[in-house]
Structures are given as C-alpha cells and as structure tokens.
Symmetry: C2
Subunit: 306 residues, 2 copies
C-alpha cells in the first residue's frame, strides 16, 4: 500500500557531545519517509524554501521517496537549532525559524489522494484535518502531535483525534493530553478521544502500544553510545507505518510487529547526525538488529512451579 | 541453598496519593526476606528496638523467615518517613531516625555462617565487608548500595565491590558510581570494579542485567495503579536472589530467569502499602503474572525479509 506523509522538511543545527552540525538535513517528513520507504512506496507533502539544495532532494529520491507533493517556494526553509546535554537528559532549543513553513497549507496532489496509509506528522491540528478532507478513502491514518498543540489548540486537536486510527506521541505529551501521569491510565483516556490505538514513545525506555485488547512494549535497542537523537521519533513512525503498509494488514499482530520495526529504525537513526545513517539502512540491517533485540529480553522461560 | 540477608528492619511512615500509613512494617531485610523466602530458606541478620512488635516478627516467621539473627535491643527501631508525588515522579524524605540501627554491628550467628548465598542490603560498606569476613565460604554474594555511600564512602565501597559477585543498584546510583550517564558504559565501568554481574533497576522502566557475555532487560509489569513503591527494590532483590538460591545455579540462564522473578515480586510489592501484599504472594501468583509479562513484549516474530 502507498504511504503519504505530511510534515516538515528542515535544516537543523544540532550540538551534542559528539560534535556540531550546521544546516543538516532534517524535518519530520524527511526522517519518516527515509524509514517508511524501506518497506512501502512513500510520498511526501511538504514545503521547502528556494535555499533547499537539489542534492538534499536527491538523497530522498535515491531512496525511492516520492517528491511530487514537495513544493519549493521563495524564502528560506524551516530551520531549527538545538543543543543536547551530554547524555541526552535534556534538550535546549536554540532557535526555531518557521520561514516558509509558517504559511504551509498542505495541498495533496490529485495523484496522491488515494494513498491508503496516511501519516500526519506534527503540524497544526487544523492542517492535519485539512489533509484528511482531501483524501479519498484512507484505510489507516496515524497522527503525531506535540505539547504546543496539546496546550494551545486542544479543541482542534481533539477534533482531528476523532478521525484517526492511531495516535503516536511521547510520554510527556501523553501525560499532558490525558491529565494522568500513569501510562496505562493516560493511554485509556486518549483512546477514549477516538484513536483505537495509541503508541507512546519513551526514548531509551522503549515504546508502548495500547489497543482495546492489548498493552505491551518493545524495549529500545541498548546502545553504548548515541550520537544525535534528533528525528528518532519520526524515524520510529516511519519504520512503524511503512511496515504496516507493506503488510496491508492493520490488525493487532501486525501492529505489534510494526512496533519492533519502528524501534529498529530509530536505533539506527540515533547513531549518526541528521539522516546520515538512516538513509543507508537496509532490511538486512534491521533483521540483524532484530536478532539482537530478541536476545535482550531476559528469562522468558523462568519457572515458578512450587 | 540457604540465603542470608543483612540489612534493616524498620517502621516507615509513608504518604502517597492513596493514603497515609504510620509506623508500617518496612526495612530492606524485611522486604527482601518476604520475597526470598518464597523460593529458599532465608535468614535475617538485623537489629530492632524494644518497640518492635512481636506480631511483626510473627509476620516474617509465618512466611518461614529465620529470625535467629535478629537482635532486639533497648531503644527505638529505625524509622523513616517519606512522601511521594501523585505519580511517583519524586519522593521527599520527611525524616530518618536511625535509632538502634546507628550502632548496628552485624554479628552472624554461628549457625548461619555457612549460608551459600548472601545479600548485603544497603548498609555502610565497612559493615558489608565485616559480614563477608564472618562467612565461611559463600557461593554467591550480592550487594546493594546507595548514593550516600557512593559519594561519602567510595573507597570502602570499592573495597567491598571487589569481593562480591553481583551489584544491584538503581540507574542514578549507577551513573554516580561510574561517572557515565549511558547505561551500558556505566555497567561496564562498574563491572571493572569487581562484580561479574550488575543489575540496574529502573523502576517502572524495568531492570537491566549486565555480564561479560550479556546485556538485557526485563520490562516492569505495567500496572494501572501503584499504591506505594517503598521496598520495591529490596523485594526485587529478594525475588531475584531467592530464585537463584532455589536453583543453586548462578550461570547466565538462571541470572536471566532471576530477573523475571525479581520483577514479578516487585510488581506485587507496589500494589499495597508496606508488606501488605508481598507477605501473601505465592508462587502461583508469580506464575500467573509471568504469563502476563511474556505477553507484554511485542512483535518478536516480526519479519524483515526483503
């Protein structure tokens, strides 16, 4: 099945213990599509400025990502700058320049409106809704959001939540959206707002999946060193959604497998700055690391006979 | 095999969202022995004051815990008071009254010196060493510690670390002891100080096991509500060490299974104040929850064939 992602393409300036990168390729749609395209044809709808390098579009095109929905307009591309503490306990935003992204009005090209799977990356919930208005009959819609919309645009957000199959967010966002600091309570409260499934991402602590019949997690792949966690959440989403789209099946079994796929993709993302590692990952890399991840889970065969 | 635990017996005053308890039975040796005795004969060495209720000793005795090493002396029992935030993000210590515990000098009764498995709960590292001096030939020694000793008594702590098989501590303590905020780096640095195995407890995020040949985790059992997390770490240790002692085997396979046992025991501990739940848990409870824990792990059968 075809995947459509609507989100940002950006240039990031990132500082971590491992060094500094200026104007590195970033943005939610960028990370997402590089991971999703490993599994399924993936189309991006986004806006970039006239400063956006043709070579950067080429990096996506090389991975088979469809760019007919990427508009290049006069002005500068969205830019974000951030600095992480030594072990990524905290992140400081140094600047956010929306630039051409500030007037982004996603228009879905006619040829992409039949995409079966839609990922609405973190943009204004009103724009997320306008994307859904343009789609003909998506089979599975997933949505990401952030605290900015949860606190500032809650009614718009709750409206669009009623129209999606899955909400993907991090734990802080889940706590803010639900009003509960208990993960299970938070997920239940969020599912009551519409999404049948909720995925709560917890960074190095792994990710949780909640549906009406299931609660479970995938631990993060333990890494001796992280280089740059920027984009890990969107890469997780891309690995997750792409896996589902490839299978064409949105049942629980596939959702659980997709959790692993997202986890593995994200684990590669954080091992380099920007998209430097994720743009060259292939399925056999994921398969290798899947073996490692299985081994990480202790003692399934413990015995408690008296 | 016989388990010996040396630690505290205490009266705790605890406040959580669920209510308030005054002078509730607590202490590391108490929690540990209630869990450990599910699996193996367990003997406590501790000190209590003359205010310690015979009925509280009876609660341990009812579970088969050996109390010949518990000394009752004039004065008050160790008391601790604490208050947790609504979702247990933070814990505030309201008071610590060492009382008779301040002059605790563990003396191991002659009949207990041959215990094969020893757990040195969180006490001064010099006292932990003095316990080892009294044992004849323990086959497996595990040790817990805390930030107070890591920052204040590092040389004594490092000395005793050279004499133990396993160190069990939480993530903050591991970061403080190792100087690294990366879990894998921290564990490697700690293992270089002596213990062949390190267990790092992360509360609701589960627990990790590190040996020379293995890195892995057990997720915590997801709970819709926690009542009181006091003692969860010591209960984990009791479930872990008791499981090992029952098997009489300290190889990697059993260490991994013991991680599950500790996790399951701790999950019961936090569902009630004090030892109210853990004192009535039986092996079939653990077996039931083990089934649940297995199911919590997502997508082991995902496929990444191209």
């Amino acid at each position: 099945m075809k995947v459509l992602v609507v989100g940002s393409m950006a240039y990031d300036s990132v500082e971590t213990w491992a060094g500094k990168r200026e104007r590195a390729l970033g943005g939610s749609a960028t990370y997402f599509s590089l991971a999703s395209s490993l599994f399924a044809p993936t189309e991006v709808v986004a806006v970039v400025g006239d400063d956006f390098a043709a070579s950067d579009l080429g990096r996506l095109r090389d991975r088979g990502v469809g760019l007919s929905g990427v508009k290049q307009v006069p002005g500068e591309t969205f830019r974000w700058g951030g600095r992480y503490s030594r072990y990524f306990e905290t992140r400081e935003t140094l600047f956010t320049e929306l630039n051409v992204f500030s007037s982004f009005q996603p228009e879905i090209p006619a040829g992409l409106r039949d995409a079966e799977v839609v990922f609405l990356a973190n943009i204004h919930p009103r724009l997320q809704a306008s994307v859904l208005d343009q789609m003909t009959a998506p089979k599975f819609v997933a949505l990401d959001t952030m605290n900015f919309w949860i606190s500032g645009e809650r009614s718009h957000l709750e409206e669009v939540l009623g129209r999606v199959d899955l909400l993907m967010l991090n734990d802080e966002e889940a706590f803010a959206l639900s009003g509960s600091g208990n993960l299970l309570q938070a997920a239940a409260a969020i599912r009551a707002k519409g999404p049948k499934a909720v995925v709560i991402k917890r960074g190095e602590h792994g990710a949780w999946l909640f549906t009406d019949e299931y609660t479970g997690l995938v631990p993060a792949v333990p890494l001796p060193e992280v280089i740059d966690p920027t984009g890990a959440g969107d890469t997780f989403a891309g690995g997750f959604i792409g896996y589902l789209a490839r299978s064409g099946d949105f049942g629980l079994k596939k959702l659980k497998e997709a959790m692993v796929s997202g986890t593995l993709a994200a684990s590669y993302c954080v091992q380099a700055f920007s998209v430097d590692r994720i743009e060259s990952v292939d399925l056999s890399d994921l398969a290798d690391r899947h073996e490692q991840l299985r081994d990480v889970i202790c003692g399934l065969d413990a015995s408690f006979d008296s």
